[in-house]
């Protein structure tokens, strides 16, 4: 019975299924019937109508790329411009034998195999009526040769276009950066519509960070094309909006002076205006020519740049982590005073070494036989190590960490170009986190002379110096001074960003440090006394440093050559001037340069001199009663605007304090 029931079920089920399959076939035929009648309707009944539409379908929209914004220095000298350049292109459709044509061209002008290879790749990707570039940057002579022979070169065209050019490509390569051809990765992130006519985008430096402003807005034109797509005439045009021009705080003359002074050396220099955080100079040496990258650098040159042990592509101002050495001493001395760990007349006896209680290890001073009786001023002027071993031990790493962090050590400054490193201001917590170890007292001791884990970038050191000089105002460093939209009559100013004011407990504490740092240059025994020249119109405050190289930079891909040289100490120097009215704060690192006083300080001296020479005696004097500065007409408009957005400090704190101290 059960088996019979099952069989019957199976039979019913099969019948239902077969019935439904017939429905499915009918359904299929129904849907296909709809499709076929639709196609019949479109392709046969209305064929003529659609053919007409197709013939008339000749209006297409083309993108017009905007002109990229220009970049000027502080004084209106152009740093990045767009120059017309000539490109030779071939329209495949108009020529019968491309290979023959290429041979002919090669007899007229210089064409490399690489060019031909690139060209052939493009031929497969583009439409036959589109021009395909063969050679960029034709010289005037080459343009002339081709023009004369154009009649026997069917399909050859010379196109004028704008190409980015950096007049100071070498000096500004690390700051201004460069543009290059858009790569596949960038294609994914850049806004599609706005870049529809653009081939280049900022790759580095200002060009990259300010890409959104520099690029501008794309325009378009509606064109009538024939049925093959060639443009017959323009029907409608919407002009592109050019990119914004940028005026930098950078002074290209200073930059040139710095590059000249650095000749043959490796290292970095950063100069900042302590009154607003404006970056006046920023140099990483060795440099390279940014123009090489604009239309694609050839792989051989790139390889040579990239694998050189001198690392020209490495931007030392932002990425170089250096032990600051003795340049930290003024900061630690100030920490001692402000945190009441030492008094202004604190004095120690320096026997040439320092020992922790109950430990045998001797921390040596650079001066074997010691400095003898040493107070704060002497400790900075003669750079006594033992004084700071002891001070560091008294402060303890936690207080040191906190105080130094407020000056920006171990922190990103927020400068307006991308990619800066943080440096390192060690602390207990940091060591626990990274090394999983407790902090040892001995590590505090060596941190006191700027060694150990402590690492700074030249930018950080310059910024800390500026902050020290202006009485504790920590500004965010800025490269861009103002932004000029093409439609605006005057540029919009980027206002200075005061990040924090470090609390000043006693102005006299700061004055002690200024005095000591001034003695470093102008004192009889100062470590940078060679900067002291008779008849100077201003005084410089500074500190030398010599940083031991215990670990060679972060990467180990250096080659054998230059190995010995690399074991020499780094020379470090920081300074600001004029002491009574600081206008420039500077940090210089010369890699493997030896002593800071003899190698790094003279470079800083030249830059300071070049900068301050622009000012009158009146302006260099303190206190500056908001004297209007002489300026060209453009600068005038800028400067007047500065006053509106930035409240100029009528009295620089530093200037006041130094007065109190020296005469008090």
């Amino acid at each position: 019975m059960a088996a019979k029931q099952l069989l019957k079920d199976h039979f019913i089920e099969l019948r239902i299924f077969q019935h439904r399959s017939i429905v499915a076939i009918l359904f299929t035929m129904f849907l296909f019937g709809i499709l076929i009648s639709r196609l019949f309707y479109l392709q046969i009944s209305n064929h003529d109508h659609f053919t007409t539409l197709s013939q008339n379908n000749r209006v297409s929209v083309q993108a017009i790329p905007p002109t990229r914004g220009l970049i000027y220095d502080k004084n209106g000298i152009i740093l990045a411009e767009n120059l017309p350049s000539y490109t030779l292109q071939i329209i495949p459709e108009q020529t019968k034998d491309i290979d023959n044509l290429l041979e002919q061209l090669a007899t007229l002008i210089d064409i490399r195999d690489v060019d031909i290879k690139k060209f052939k790749k493009e031929v497969h990707r583009k439409r036959r009526f589109e021009g395909i570039p063969l050679r960029f940057h034709l010289s005037d002579e080459e343009v002339a040769i081709i023009s004369v022979n154009l009649h026997r070169l069917p399909g050859v065209e010379i196109q004028a276009q704008l190409t980015r050019f950096y007049p100071y490509g070498k000096e500004t390569s690390h700051v201004v950066g460069y543009v290059g051809r858009i790569n596949e990765q960038e294609l994914k992130t850049l806004p599609v519509t706005n870049y529809s006519g653009t081939n280049h985008t900022g790759k580095l430096g200002i060009e990259k960070s300010y890409e959104a402003l520099l690029h501008g807005q794309v325009g378009y034109q509606k064109v009538e094309t024939n049925v093959r797509g060639r443009v017959l005439r323009v029907l409608e045009r919407s002009n592109p909006t050019p990119g914004d021009d940028l005026y930098l705080n950078l002074d290209i003359n200073l930059q040139k002076v710095a590059a000249e002074a650095f000749k043959g050396k490796r290292g970095a220099l950063v100069a900042i205006d302590p009154q607003n955080g404006h970056v006046l100079a920023m140099l990483s040496m060795p440099d390279y020519d940014a123009n090489l990258f604009v239309n694609g650098i050839d792989s051989k040159t790139y390889k040579a740049l990239n694998s050189s042990w001198e690392r020209p592509l490495f931007n030392r101002t932002l990425l170089g982590n250096y032990p600051p050495g003795s340049t930290t001493k003024p900061f630690f001395a100030l920490a001692g005073l402000e945190l009441n760990v030492i008094s202004p007349d604190h004095e120690i006896f320096c026997p040439g070494y320092y020992q922790l209680k109950g430990k045998a290890h001797k921390y040596r001073d650079w001066k074997k036989w010691g400095h003898g009786k040493t107070n704060i001023t002497k400790s900075i002027v003669e750079s006594c190590d033992v004084f700071y071993y002891d001070l560091a031990f008294q402060l303890g790493i936690d207080k040191m960490h906190q105080f130094m962090s407020s000056f920006g050590f171990g922190q990103r400054s927020g400068i307006d170009i991308l990619g800066e490193r943080k440096g390192l201001m060690p602390s207990r917590a940091w060591k626990k986190r990274v090394h999983g170890q407790v902090w040892f007292p001995g590590e505090t001791v060596i941190t006191g002379i700027g060694q150990g884990y402590l690492l700074v970038t030249p930018l950080q050191l310059a910024l800390a110096t500026a902050t020290l000089a202006n009485g504790g105002k920590y500004y965010q460093p800025q490269l861009v001074h103002s932004i000029k939209r093409k439609s605006d009559p005057i540029p919009r100013l980027v206002s200075p960003q005061l990040v924090r004011q470090i609390p000043v407990k006693k102005k006299s504490n700061w004055a002690i440090i200024y005095h000591a740092m001034t003695e470093v240059i102008h004192g009889r025994r100062g470590t940078a006394r060679r900067l002291n020249k008779p008849g100077m119109r201003y005084k410089i405050a500074g500190k030398t440093g010599t940083a031991q190289v215990f670990s060679v930079a972060q990467d180990s891909s250096y080659k054998e050559e230059g190995l010995e040289e690399r074991l020499k100490d780094h020379a470090v120097f920081m300074a600001f001037a004029p002491v009574k009215n600081p206008k420039i704060a500077i940090a210089v690192v010369v890699e493997n340069g030896g002593h800071g006083g003899s190698v790094a300080a003279p470079i800083a001296g030249k830059v300071i001199e070049a900068y301050l020479n622009q000012f009158s005696d009146e302006e260099l004097k303190a206190p500056p009663k908001a004297t209007p500065k002489p300026a060209t007409s453009r600068k005038k408009t800028l400067r007047t605007k500065v006053k509106l957005t930035v409240k100029p400090e009528p009295d620089t704190t530093a200037a006041l304090m130094i007065k109190e101290n020296t005469h008090g």
């Binding site: 399959s21 299929t28 709809i34 639709r38 209305n46």
Partner: protein, 368 residues
């Protein structure tokens, strides 16, 4: 004669249905011809597609080796896994072009909704085959419940095209199980009343816009109606015999966006005309009829239900794609099966044909 029989026997033993295979090869070959034209004569693009097709063929052959019984046993597991993945996509999926469809698994990206095109009909076939045929009302509603969850999850991504294909795959299983015509009429009525809240609450703006411009493409000629207008011009200007291979002006002058993916049929119809379109449709019909034939010969409820769902979903692919490029259906993003450029759908489709081959070649041959 004897040798031919033995050769067929060889394919049969390898679990390949030669007739279906030949139909697929002919279709794919024709598809490559038009892809070469639509893809701008790019060999690089062709080669990428060949790699995908190769993979898809391997998947088909592997699946053909699995017996329908094994598939049936694994159906609930596969369904459960797929549903969990769908939830995961909504939570941690990779976003692209405003939709969250992929799971980034480091090595490759996985699109769970694609898998559900097969997992859903498998699950519903498993569920219905476990009980009486035709199923009672209660079971039908439970089957609809099973279907609704993944469909809503996919619609949320949002992926209208795939949710449409997944729901039709499920509905075909229920239909083939012998649901009564009265109930079907009831559902149609309910469907109409359901459309209203769908329109008001569930559809995204861009989807609504698509539907609106479908009814009146001229209202937005440079925006969302642009595709349809240009596509209709391409198809219409093709005429009876077409403009010839590689000669389609509409498609080659870039008036047709996405011309090598969803709009590839427009290129085909422009270059090969009405006659060419009939040949393409004939190839599709051949494959569909072979599929339906296989299911009528199939053993077991599960195999019959699953097989017919797979082949009818294939039909829906064709209808929706050609319907949308010719302007009678909204643009929902369904590729022309086995012809459009793109990887995921090819693999799922071929996996579906693997199931059909498995059903045909795993029959217990006693009955014959």
């Amino acid at each position: 004669m004897a040798s031919r029989a033995s050769q067929q026997g060889l394919f049969f033993r390898m679990h390949i249905d030669l007739t279906l295979l030949l139909g697929l090869i002919a279709l794919i070959a024709l598809g490559q011809v038009i892809l070469y034209s639509a893809g701008g004569e790019s060999m690089a693009l062709m080669q990428r597609q060949w790699i995908r097709l190769g993979m898809a063929f391997v998947v088909m052959l592997v699946i053909a080796q699995i017996s329908p019984d094994t598939m049936r046993r694994w159906s609930p597991v596969l369904f459960l896994f797929g549903t969990i993945m769908l939830v995961a996509v909504l939570l941690v999926g990779t976003k692209a072009l405003g939709a969250r469809r992929w799971l980034d698994l480091g090595l490759f990206r996985f699109q769970p909704s694609e898998m559900m095109k097969l997992a859903v009909p498998m699950m519903i076939a498993w569920f219905l085959a476990a009980g009486h045929i035709p199923p009672g009302n209660k079971r039908i509603f439970m089957a609809l419940g099973i279907l609704l969850l993944p469909v809503l999850l996919i619609a949320r991504q949002p992926d209208l095209g795939t949710s449409l294909l997944v729901s039709s795959a499920g509905i075909f299983v229920i239909f083939m199980s012998g649901i009564s015509w009265r109930l079907i009429a009831g559902f149609v009525m309910a469907g109409i009343t359901f459309t209203v809240p769908l329109w008001l609450f569930l559809m995204r703006d861009y989807q609504r816009q698509r539907v609106l411009t479908m009814f009146n493409p001229e209202s937005d000629p440079l925006g969302s109606g642009y595709h349809i207008i240009q596509s209709k011009i391409a198809i219409g200007s093709g005429g009876i015999f077409g403009k010839g291979w590689l000669n389609g002006t509409q498609s080659h002058l870039e008036f047709l966006p996405e011309r090598h993916t969803d709009f590839i049929f427009s290129v085909f119809a422009e270059e090969f005309g009405f006659s060419g379109s009939l040949i393409l449709l004939a190839l599709y019909l051949f494959i569909i009829y072979r599929g339906i034939y296989i299911t009528t010969q199939a053993h077991g409820t599960y195999a019959r239900l699953l097989g017919s769902s797979v082949i009818l979903t294939f039909l829906i692919y064709i209808f929706v794609n050609i319907g949308m490029v010719s302007g009678i259906l909204p643009v929902v993003g369904v590729p022309l099966p086995l012809v459009s450029y793109g990887g995921t759908s090819v693999v799922t489709l071929m996996a579906g044909f693997g199931i059909l081959m498995s059903i045909h070649t795993h029959r217990k041959l006693l009955a014959h």
